[in-house]
């Protein structure tokens, strides 16, 4: 975990793809997509039914390591509206036990439907000490803003090896979190959609935390908008 300053607040970027806010003792995570596997199972694609457990196990370890007392999920927490009711067994127990220990807040995203959460509080967006938390970055937002939604990842090709990692994206007054869910894929951080969400900031960068530093990858030139 490496300290990172965003709007005068100190955060820690965790290599697992979470953001820790020490002053609030809160873990911020985005795009858990819980029960994604069971969603696809309905259509005959029997993905391993362990994705929710894997995601919540990882979260539990982070809570234990950071001592977080609050968990704020920035939307798309369940893959679909019925996901909350499908969560069961060990994964359900893990969520129960985590929410008993922490103040749990669901910010809702495009995959979420209000009222389908088994535990915790639900909000559309939240303002914490002047930092706006929402699911999808708003290009017109002038206040500091932390969001998810895009599942950004960054790919490096080096010595014939291709390394692809989930990444944070920073641009202007915005910080976008990677997806935290075990089965969630990624979108290249340089993608047009991400650039547009950042308000086309020239200095935007992908951030990858390792155990002892934060690697910066400038997103570079803003691509010309190509005709569809």
């Amino acid at each position: 975990m490496v300290p990172y300053l965003f709007d005068r607040h100190e955060f820690h970027l965790c290599a697992e793809g979470a953001l820790y806010w020490p002053a609030r003792r809160a873990l911020l995570i985005a795009d858990l997509h819980l029960e994604k596997a069971s969603f696809f199972a309905r259509f005959g694609q029997h993905l391993p039914p362990y994705d929710s457990l894997a995601t919540l196990d990882a979260l539990t370890r982070l809570v234990e390591r950071t001592g977080a007392q609050a968990i704020w999920c920035l939307g798309d927490s369940f893959h679909d509206a019925g996901g909350g009711t499908r969560l069961s067994g060990a994964a359900f127990d893990a969520l129960q036990s985590l929410s008993a220990r922490t103040d749990w807040l669901w910010i809702t995203g495009n995959h979420d439907v209000d009222g389908s959460f088994p535990v915790g509080r639900v909000m559309r967006e939240a303002d914490v000490d002047g930092v706006l938390l929402r699911h999808e970055a708003s290009p017109h937002e002038t206040r500091p803003e932390i969001s998810g939604h895009f599942h950004p990842k960054w790919t490096v090709r080096r010595r014939g090896v291709r390394v692809s990692r989930r990444c944070f994206v920073r641009g202007g007054n915005k910080l976008i979190l990677p997806a935290f869910g075990a089965l969630t894929g990624g979108l290249d951080a340089g993608h047009e959609a991400v650039r547009a969400a950042l308000g086309r900031d020239e200095d935007a960068a992908a951030l990858i935390p390792t155990h002892d530093q934060i690697l910066h990858f400038p997103l570079g030139e803003i691509p010309q908008r190509r005709r569809a």
Binding site: A41, Q45, P48, L53, R157, V163, L187, A193
Partner: protein, 783 residues
Amino acid sequence: MVAAAQAGEDALLIASTGAGKTLAGFLASIADLVTHPRDGLHTLYISPLKALTVDIQRNLVQPLEEMGLDLRVETRTGDTPSNRKQRQRVRPPHFLLTTPESLSLLLSHEDSPMLFAGLHSVIIDEVHAFASGKRGDLLSLCLARLQGLAPGLRRVALSATVGEPDRYRRWLSRDGDGRDVRLVQGDPGAPPDIAILTPLGRVPWGGHSGRYAAAQVYDEIRKHRLTLVFCNTRSLAELILQDLWAVNEDNLPIGIHHGSLAVEVRRKAESAIAEGRLRALVCTASLDLGVDWGDVDLVIQMGAPKGASRLVQRIGRANHRLDESSKALVVPGNRFEYLEARAALDAIDEGQLDHELWRPGALDVLAQHIMAVACAAPFEPDAQFAETRRAAPYADLPRSEFDGLIDYIANGGYALSRYDRYQRLRRLPDGRWTVSHPRFIQQHRLNAGIIVEAPMLDVRFQNRRSLGRVEEYFASTLSVGDTFRFSGLALEVLGIREMDLIVRATTKSARIPAYMGARLALTTDLADRVRGFLHDRDQWPRFPPDVAEWLDVQSLRSALPAPEQLLVETFPHEGLHYMVAYSFEGWNAHQSLGMLVTKRMETEGLQPVGFVANDYAIGVYGLKPITDPARLFSPDILESELVEWVRSSHLLKRAFREVAVIGGLVERQHPGKRKSGKQVTFSTDLIYDVLQKYEPDHLLLRAAWEDARTRLVDVARLGDLLQRAGATMLHQVLDRVSPLAVPLMVMIGREQVAQRGSEDELLAEEASLIALAMRVDDPPQSA
């Protein structure tokens, strides 16, 4: 052949290309239809190549018309329009020419029992090319099914010359035994006339391309009507074409053909050949099979052939008359390759061809087949199990594995049976299994197939014209501004845009692509012969003087190993300490071994710097001398380092991706569908990670593990090597490099150092490079 047909026996016909064996396969069917004319599907012809079905159709229709026979011959492949496919099921032709995949799809239709009830014969062409692989597994299962629908069905397979006909008889048989399959050996024809080309009277120390001989190869092209120049890799084919054009004073039409080229480009080359417009075609394994294009009178093999069977099959492409010898030249790239070429020629003279690697039938293929069966009609598990075991690759399948497989198809086969509500198969009260929803049938038909391509990128000019496709892996090694050869052009990389590699033609010289792809490894049979040469001085006078001298000095300076010995040399060279082991297990196994041995050197504190491998030997080098090589070759490497390495490497993930698609866990990604703003697909890598963590014994993981072991790492050969290393190692401590080590040593620096940093290091390296480049120093203060 005719005798076997009259007796109604199954038969395996082995003949060299050009002996008219395909038509011989049809003779019995034609004769039967002449004596007993009838409508309905009479004979199925199955080929590994779509193109071949079209070719055979052409060759069959004409003689049938000349005989005045009103027999319908049609093809059915992925290219056949769906209205014709439908019509074929209603009003089938007498002869249907198809591929294993299309046959499997036919069997998934509920009317298939009616369609195949009267089937008289099935003819399988080029069986040597695919019987021992996953497509062979699928076809074997289809045959078992067909036999159930048409008990009188006769099986005929046609093969090029193979090393172990009995294995193919077993594969073809109805019971996995093979004794009931009659073996028919075609007229071998005149023995081929093969020579080794040593243009300068000497053989180079290093290299494996034979590029040095371009001028002599060109002379041969000039002296012949039509020459096929076979190369072992696509990138080599590109380079050879470049070399030939550089000396092409007469402007002879010389073309290129390999599997990465766009279909239109390949078709152009093919028709140019068929119409006699080419004098030479530089090609790769993409031309190993099937379609006969022209009047080839010379085959040239650049570099060592890597296997006697492959050489014979390639030579078979020349001169299709039995009474004349096929003419061929082999151009060895270095001294070991000279020995290998000599070994291949001896093997061919003695009729000793290579042994295939046969392994038990793959579980992902069986899952796909059983789903196809269920799509046609509900099945009874006991009967289906019995039918499955009649397919030779599955003859030893345990019942528990079969039951587990049905569980997998039905609900994913997880220990946590969460998907009972979403079953693809459900059990009927009478015990049969049936598909639980029609959409799963649709899904199956869209996704069935055995060939899972690695992710590919289109190579395009800026105007979007496509030149062909390269593996994403290869593209990922290129940076903007790099130059490489492709489709006979030097190309400069402009960038990667989604699934396109954008290039422009350039006059800059192309650097050799580091891309090696899946290399053909030296077969064990040839390796044994080369080992024999080293030890048997009586053979040496047959070799060029410099090769004989090379071996002679080696025996003085170090040693030449006996056939069962593993020679290991250690010596210092230019400040580093080297260890070279002459293990002859092929490039794939050596590549794996290099990774493992350097890993172990790290733990032993020997500070490895890198390694280099070819088909014959592996060399590792580091900062400290290796005094006890046996410690590095201990068999426990297989349990510890290997398992860890395979698990963490991309090999297993790649294998998992394949079994997940074939086994129907995830849907095939159809070309043309691209990722857009919002991610909608999921990566099999993520599925792999989750499954590996929570259910490591899952059937698909076991299947992926099997694949990775046999195909990707050649673990069997590695295991053999390590098992005998301890007892047979002959360690020579030298003060400097030995003659035998030179072909390997000259490769160092040309190959990438495969020692890899951790992912974090690679990321950090890239980031710090950017930081360095982008740092703007304060302007110097003026005095």
